[in-house]
Symmetry: C2
Amino acid sequence: MDKKVRGKTFIVAGPSGVGKGTILKKLFETHDLYYSVSATTRDPREGEVDGVHYHFLSVEEFRAMIAEDALLEHAEYAGNYYGTPKRYVDEAMDAGRDVILEIEMQGARQVCAKRPETIRIFIAPPSWEELERRLVNRGTDAPEKIAQRLRQARVELENAGEYDYMVVNETVEKAAEEVAAILCAEHCRVDGRLEEILKK
Amino acid sequence: MDKKVRGKTFIVAGPSGVGKGTILKKLFETHDLYYSVSATTRDPREGEVDGVHYHFLSVEEFRAMIAEDALLEHAEYAGNYYGTPKRYVDEAMDAGRDVILEIEMQGARQVCAKRPETIRIFIAPPSWEELERRLVNRGTDAPEKIAQRLRQARVELENAGEYDYMVVNETVEKAAEEVAAILCAEHCRVDGRLEEILKK
């Protein structure tokens, strides 16, 4: 891609267990994208690297970012702050890279309220039964946690109409190809292209 | 693709000499699409096959189709009628195939007035100079004809903002890939996907 063309921001959302991570991993094998790293006030876990897994901040630093409107979205969860710093997103786009925000529904709404041009992709399971099966087979969660994730998934699926695109994860390959096609097509949108041409 | 999913119609337009035919030929190598065959009242030329190059109709037959609203668009040019029959387009879409309409600006406007869901792709030259070069190097047209095509191209470029997408034909491979990505992405649009899921 012509590096002078500005990157775009894509939200990739969808219920827990739907396979977002696997699809994105596949996509990153062939595409030079910036995966947005969240900021958080929670303590680093063993092996977590600052700036790679999270930007680890103090509560004061995080609150200062909220006050300065330096976050695209943020939330408090289990007593800790989590959020998306604007800075790295903007730097990546300025450098011509597309940005992937893997965030949940509430975060997606905040981002789109601030930046309506953000493109929203919802990853859906092939069926409800398949999602249940995947969450159970993962074997990492207690039954009560699985039930909670399924309740949350139901809410997310009911609100999928808020998104621009829906990719059904039948196979990782096909889903990654579809996300790649969406990225490519969005760069062909006539408004942006006319702007690029006028800049030349 | 799941054959139960209905096909969509894509208009591919752009100035004469921009390379629409070459791009589409490349695209058809890998995609099972229906290339809409126009109806016309002009006489078949040597080697032209009815139903392949055109649907050859009498003036009475063509006028009857206009009266029955059986055409997506039509025009009169040099004393002959040309138009796009609805029937084959609809049959292809019902069978789950996407349809390509290679038509000019006025025709594109008529189609979109009747069917606003039609997706419009404009193929643009990398530069004005390149378009001039291609038209001259083709060697098939007299200078006056080339000048006329360039005037028409100027009008089409000025109205490119009417389209949904713009694909710049820098290389045939890249342009065909971008058109393919647009087709794929349009099938991921959330409205259509939610409809598909509800039908299941």
